[in-house]
């Protein structure tokens, strides 16, 4: 009996026009994304900046950010179901909805960037169980199914006693899912920049940091639209979590690079990553904007309003920094040529064996990526109006 959720939830009834404005902007972005996808499918990838050297481009960066954020966003629900923190309970449903919509948005970008998106059915019916990519397809679909079951047991009072078990299962599932996403890169034997088991835990840390940042956005947005504020304890707790997760990401990134610097065979790749033409993305994007800035913002004290604003800024830059890191992992690794002959220099080759390739994304890829993000947020905001996921301000405050 004590497990029954006594918080009150409702469908989102926004008290301000900013909700509708946001919806309108998102619709425009989704339309642009759809147009980009149509063009890429119709004309082929020749209109994009991707080629035979840079095979995975900006859409993949966006997709991976979304998928990784989805896994981390579920943390809000795990806090209460798995770790027993009752004060996080009101936001559990919001977290699950956000997680599911972020994942679907990421998958949409991924599928639309396929060379043959019309063959999605083939992907769903032909599995190669030696492929981590294939496993990921199963894990992603399972995530959505588990999300639905999770919401169901949370929303049906008679099933509330199963919330802890389902929550634990969801926690385990998303850990495996994010490990799988990181392993897509970690399993690549042919690429020096990626061939590392460290990428799996790095992605777990990234998921937690970007996911928490995404949560902050949705929690404060729903609070704002209900003309209330997030409680002080909530702001403090989210801020601390975000700080620790950002530090965790930094830890794994540092260990990855330091280890690579130590190994002779990775020298070329590391020199390119840390001092090459694309290194500003790492140093400015990830280190400065994505790590130092949120740490500084989150350590600052001040009035409650200031702390809330700092938290939101910190969340924004964390997401940007996470994207920058994913950019260097995905695209940086492809820019460096694969070294077929380690003890020789390549004088001439027509297939990019010689020098580094600079990736020049086109508007179509950017459109597709942003369209996916917009689709995820749009779905989330619409779902919030359909079913009672949003906690009422009184429940939040208590």
């Amino acid at each position: 009996m004590s497990t029954i959720d006594t918080n009150r939830y409702n469908t989102l009834k926004p008290a301000s026009t900013s909700y509708w404005l946001t919806l309108a902007v998102l619709l425009v972005l989704v339309a642009l994304g759809g147009y980009s996808a149509f063009n890429m499918e119709h004309a082929g990838h020749q209109i994009s900046g991707m080629n035979n050297q840079i095979v995975w481009g900006l859409p993949h960066v966006f997709a991976i950010t979304l998928i990784v954020a989805a896994s981390g966003a579920l943390n809000g629900a795990s806090m209460s179901s798995v770790f027993g923190l009752k004060r996080c309970k009101p936001f559990a449903r919001l977290s699950v909805v956000l997680a599911m919509t972020l994942l679907v948005g990421g998958l949409i970008v991924l599928v639309l960037d396929l060379g043959r998106p019309d063959r999605l059915v083939v992907a769903m019916t032909h599995f190669n169980f030696k492929s981590i990519f294939s496993w990921n397809i199963i894990l992603y679909n399972g995530f959505i199914a588990i999300g639905i079951v999770y919401l169901w047991v949370m929303m049906e009072p008679r099933l509330n006693r199963y919330t802890a078990k389902v929550g634990a299962f969801a926690f385990l599932w998303r850990f495996i899912l994010t490990t799988g996403t990181g392993s897509i890169f970690g399993f690549l034997v042919g690429r020096n920049a990626l061939d590392s088991a460290l990428l799996a835990p790095l992605f777990i840390a990234l998921a937690l940091s970007i996911g928490t940042a995404a949560q902050v956005f949705i929690f404060s947005a729903t609070a704002r639209w209900q003309n209330s504020d997030l409680p002080e304890s909530m702001v403090f707790a989210q801020g601390r979590l975000l700080l620790w997760f950002v530090l965790a990401v930094l830890y794994f990134a540092v260990v990855h690079h330091v280890t690579n610097l130590y190994l002779a065979e990775h020298q070329v790749v590391e020199r390119y990553a840390l001092a090459g033409p694309m290194s500003p993305v790492f140093w400015v994007g990830f280190v400065l904007i994505g790590t130092i800035a949120p740490i500084v913002l989150l350590f600052r004290g001040g009035s409650e309003n200031k702390r809330c604003r700092n938290l939101i800024f910190a969340s924004a830059v964390t997401i940007l920094g996470g994207m920058a890191l994913i950019y260097t992992i995905v695209i940086g690794a492809q820019s460096t040529p694969q070294r077929l002959f380690p003890d020789k220099t390549v004088i001439a080759s027509r297939f990019g064996d010689a020098g580094f390739e600079l990736y020049q994304p086109t508007a179509w890829e950017l459109g597709l990526g942003i369209g996916g993000v917009a689709m995820a947020v749009l779905m989330c905001l619409i779902l919030l109006r359909v079913l009672p996921f949003t906690p009422e301000p009184e429940s939040v405050a208590s």
Binding site: G115, R191, L340
Partner: protein, 253 residues
Amino acid sequence: MPSNSDHFNSGQARRRFLKQLGLLGTAAVTSSYTLLEVRKANAAASPAVTNTKRWGLLIATDKCSSGCDDCVRGCNEEHGLTSSGRDEIDAQWIRKIDLQDKLSGRKSSLPVMCQHCESAPCVDVCPTGASFKRADGVVLVNSHTCIGCRYCMMACPYKARSFIHETLTNQLAVAPRGKGTVESCTLCVHRIDAEEDQQPACAVACSDAGHGAILFGDLNDAGSEISQKIAAQGATQIRSDLELNTGVRYTGI
């Protein structure tokens, strides 16, 4: 006591069941009839390939010169690989690489194509199984099931695979290829399957031009020319540290 309507209903149900059974039976018979027809018509077809043979290439790089790309031209013309105008999105089933040794400064040149590895990373990572290894060791892309995810291109250590970035219209019948799928050297299976003693286009082009750098043969047959040459001179794999056991071997690098 069953009423008249109950009798009527159970009769209806029985009729429905028999009708469905009949349809199911007809479908089963029809589909097996189709397969029987196929087997009858295909009696003259060649047998399936087995792992008795393992096809491979031996490339003598000392016979390759930096300016020569006969093998590339031979492959391109055999398969109808035309240029889109942009190097970076063109198909590259085989390419020439010019090298210089870091220590000695010695220059060399060699062609690189799909190495047809025994433990091919591209086969491991393909989510649909479109990238697969045939029983006779040839690594291929089944373009019917390829979804164009390009994961195999990320995974290949030899950068052997190309993605088709634009709509194609002038394909040759021996080399079906289309936008949105991945492709690579097929060891000219359309030639080597067809008859005995057929060679891949690159080997033919090279020997016709008088260089004789590319030798094709059965690695499983100790008496074949390629096996004898490898036994006599030794041969190396590119990136042998990866232990992929490639079917393409080189001398002179």
